[in-house]
């Protein structure tokens, strides 16, 4: 059933407005292509052109200024392979503020047709210049003529990868030209050049649309890219994220009577977070509760890497650590990041690499060459040494977790064991 796309009785525009032709001819184009009204989803922008939605018998979605192409894109992701036509009506103003959305839809080659109503100014708000206003064109914000060159939206969309782009004059019958844009598989955009009688004609008397377009250097024509339309290629999904976190079975015992806090710190890339993770899990395997928090500079590959760990016989409600019971420091980055809190330690222990000068602290200082097993293994070395010295955890619980996590081959465990004996 055709002829039913639009209620033509009272289109909402000023007399002579170019939008009128686009509304009539684009709905005619849809009819000629055999679409039923409810096979069409019309997304309209904010602007004079956008208030057409009430006259359309299609599904209509009337969103924000400049965002219609993104909204249409979202709909196209949701309709998937369904045989629906998504048409976006946008102005030169909406094109300016929402340029990114057009580039993105073109780049992804989404199944959407954008009809740009280019009347070269912001009609609805009173005739101001837009980003598409040609140089020299007079508007209410540049009575002597726009001093800037306008965007060529066709070139931009084409460069971004649009399947099909065309620029046409909004005069005569443009149904055929619009049909061509509508028939594309993938992203298409048709820029219709028109003039707004209320501002454009008034401020540019004696100038013809054709001449304005020509002088602005905008060619009429079609531009295509031979790219396939968007295909939703999702990577393989996980059915249950909880399956990815191994349950730690309780295999060991502990002697801990109260919460115990540990800070381990070294340099980025030296395995600090991994060692902390192993320690936390080893504690869990001994029926303790544990928390692990990492901190590092915004660029994760340089500077310090600090992990704060709490272990406790009861649930750790608050995981913040101001002054820890024990600090393990394996590099000067780590020392710098934690110097203040180490200085505030009144008791407890500081295990620190022997290459470093320990700060003034009330903690008992244990110097040890953690880095002898290689910088990247200093942190796990320090964790194991801590367990041996303090018996906070059974050393074998740490080895047990290293095994379970599949890290045994990646760490020089024999070397570490030997270093611990010395």
């Amino acid at each position: 059933m055709t002829g039913s796309m639009i209620k033509l009785q009272n289109l909402p525009y000023c007399k002579g407005c170019g939008h009128d032709l686009i509304a009539k001819n684009s709905t005619e184009a849809l009819e000629k292509l055999g679409y039923n009204p409810l096979d069409v989803i019309a997304v309209t922008d904010i602007g004079c052109h956008g208030i057409i939605d009430k006259c359309l018998n299609t599904h209509t979605v009337h969103g924000l200024h400049g965002r219609s192409v993104a909204l249409g894109a979202g709909i196209s992701f949701g309709t998937g392979s369904k045989d629906q036509k998504i048409v976006v009506f946008v102005g030169d103003g909406g094109t300016t503020i929402g340029l990114q959305h057009i580039m993105e839809a073109a780049r992804l080659n989404l199944n959407v047709t954008v009809v740009v109503h280019n009347n070269m100014l912001y009609g609805m708000t009173g005739g101001q210049s837009s980003g598409l206003t040609p140089k020299g064109f007079c508007t209410t914000t540049s009575f002597k003529g726009n001093p800037f060159t306008g965007y060529d939206i066709c070139k931009l969309a084409h460069t971004a990868g649009a399947r099909y782009v065309s620029r046409i004059m909004g005069v005569g019958n443009i149904t055929e030209a619009i049909m061509k844009a509508f028939s594309q598989e993938g992203f298409s955009l048709v820029e219709v050049m028109e003039i707004c009688p209320s501002y454009g004609v008034k401020l540019n008397p004696r100038r013809k649309l054709k001449e304005i377009v020509e002088e602005s250097g905008r060619e009429l024509g079609e531009w295509t890219n031979d790219l396939p339309p968007f295909l939703d290629r999702q990577e393989e999904k996980t059915a249950n994220l909880l399956d990815k976190t191994p349950v730690i079975s309780k295999t060991f015992n502990h002697q801990l009577q109260q919460p115990y806090s540990l800070v381990i710190s070294g340099s980025a890339g030296e395995g600090v977070q991994l060692a902390a993770n192993i320690f936390a899990k080893a504690a869990m395997s001994a029926d303790l509760h544990a928390t692990q928090k990492g901190s590092y500079p915004v660029t994760v590959g340089v500077g310090f890497s600090t992990a704060e760990i709490n272990v406790s016989p009861e649930e750790v409600l608050f995981h913040g650590i101001s002054v820890p019971d024990v600090a393990l420091i394996t590099s000067s980055d780590g020392l710098q990041h934690n110097r203040q809190r180490i200085e505030r330690m009144q008791q407890g222990k500081l295990f620190i690499d022997s290459s470093l000068t320990p700060p003034n602290t009330g903690a008992e200082v244990i110097l040890r060459d953690f880095r002898s097993v290689g910088a990247r293994n200093a942190a796990i070395h320090a964790i194991l040494y801590l367990c041996r010295q303090t018996k906070i955890l059974d050393e074998s619980s740490v080895y047990h977790i290293i095994q379970q996590e599949g890290k045994a081959d990646k760490l020089p465990l024999d070397k570490i064991k030997k270093a611990m004996e010395s």
Partner: protein, 374 residues
């Protein structure tokens, strides 16, 4: 070596719980734009949700979500203030169009970019005013791993039943810190059913409410015309200046959220101790410190109660009643200005209300304890 009690302890972060919960509740699309400290949510979202799309910015993010939602999908995203600020107008749009979606807002230290890797609780007042017209948008705040699990599903449920964007408010330390946690304790999550208009029935009006909420039909069906608009509109979804029908529609939006949030979706935890005249109040990350402080004080023989609001906005009227029942109330919130307190009491904080705040640092249990005991 022997096996001890057989609960399922894992070392896990809140992000994982949030995404798994949302997915089980029926969320099927994650739209992402990277921002610390919401990146784990993005990572898990991309692994778990049926559809993941990387948006080029946060305005696009919510526009894509709205488009997906109009086709019947239930989209989710996660962001922090800088991204959320860009989303504001589009969230208004989705609210007006009545499109379900969940935005996880992970708070970090501001203003502007602030410190990306530092937590904060600075966005409650922003959320309270995010809708033009002051209309309320549902905000739930997580304060534990259990909440990350159960409130996330509830957020999606509210989004669907009330047809609205919902914000799940959390913060850096809640979603990035790993903790041992017994996942066998997690409640079963039911998939939220999205009720659709019975198609063979009479005329469909997209914004004609039954019980304040209009029946949904996706734009992907071809039996009834669907109109959606972000502008002030009548029941047909057609823009109107300020006709009585259109204004009634806007009034309904406000009423719909206020009604459901103070009854069906009122979540809080009140641990009243018999005889206690003091109350510690905290939500989000500061609730952890509050719990610890209360545990300690009680062990020392103090009588003290604990109140953890979870339905944050619109602020449930019952909260004022709860805090009014105590001689001393200590509110802990990680900012400089007591946002919860100002929502409860306005400009003038009553004498008996004390505030513990912090900037750039989690509030410690001792700070709360000190204020309770002073």
């Amino acid at each position: 070596m022997h096996e001890k009690n057989s609960n399922d302890q894992v070392l896990i972060d809140g992000s994982r719980l949030i995404i798994e919960s949302l997915a089980r509740a029926g969320a099927d699309a994650f739209i992402g734009y990277p921002i610390t400290p919401a990146n784990l949510l993005y990572l898990y979202g991309s692994q778990r949700m049926e559809m993941m799309l990387p948006a080029p910015d946060e305005i696009t993010t919510v526009q894509w979500m709205a488009g997906l939602s109009a086709t019947g999908k239930l989209p989710v995203t996660a962001t922090s203030f800088p991204g959320f600020a860009l989303m504001a107008e589009s969230v208004n749009m989705a609210y007006m169009m009545e499109l379900p979606m969940v935005i996880v807002l992970v708070q970090r230290l501001g203003p502007a970019t602030g410190t990306a890797t530092c937590g904060a609780q600075g966005d409650l007042l922003l959320l309270n005013g995010i809708m033009s017209g002051g209309h309320p948008v549902p905000v739930l705040g997580t304060s534990s791993f259990e909440d990350c699990w159960s409130l996330s599903a509830r957020a999606l449920e509210i989004a669907v039943t009330q047809r609205t964007p919902v914000i799940l408010l959390t913060s850096k330390e809640e979603v990035m810190t790993q903790k041992s946690f017994d996942i066998s304790r997690l409640e079963t999550i039911k998939k939220v059913e999205r009720k659709e208009y019975a198609k063979d029935c009479c005329d469909y009006k997209p914004y004609k409410p039954t019980d304040l909420v209009p029946d949904f039909l996706p734009v992907t069906q071809a039996e009834h015309q669907v109109r959606m608009t972000a502008s002030t509109h009548d029941q047909d979804g057609i823009l109107q200046h300020s006709s009585p029908e259109a204004l009634a529609n806007t009034r309904r939006l406000e009423e719909k959220i206020r009604t459901s949030m103070k009854e069906d979706y009122l979540f809080y935890h009140l641990d009243h101790q018999e005889g206690a005249e003091k109350l510690v109040t905290a939500y989000g990350i500061s609730a952890a410190a509050a719990r610890e402080a209360v545990r300690k004080m009680r062990r020392e023989g103090q009588k003290v109660s604990l109140f953890i609001p979870k339905t944050l906005l619109p602020l449930p009227p019952v909260y004022l009643e709860i805090v009014s029942g105590y001689r001393r109330v200590v509110i802990a919130e990680e900012n400089m200005n007591n946002q919860l307190g100002s929502l409860l009491f306005g400009q003038k904080l009553p004498e008996n209300i004390r505030f513990v705040g912090n900037l750039g640092k989690m509030i410690a249990p001792e700070e709360i304890e000190k204020e309770v005991m002073s």
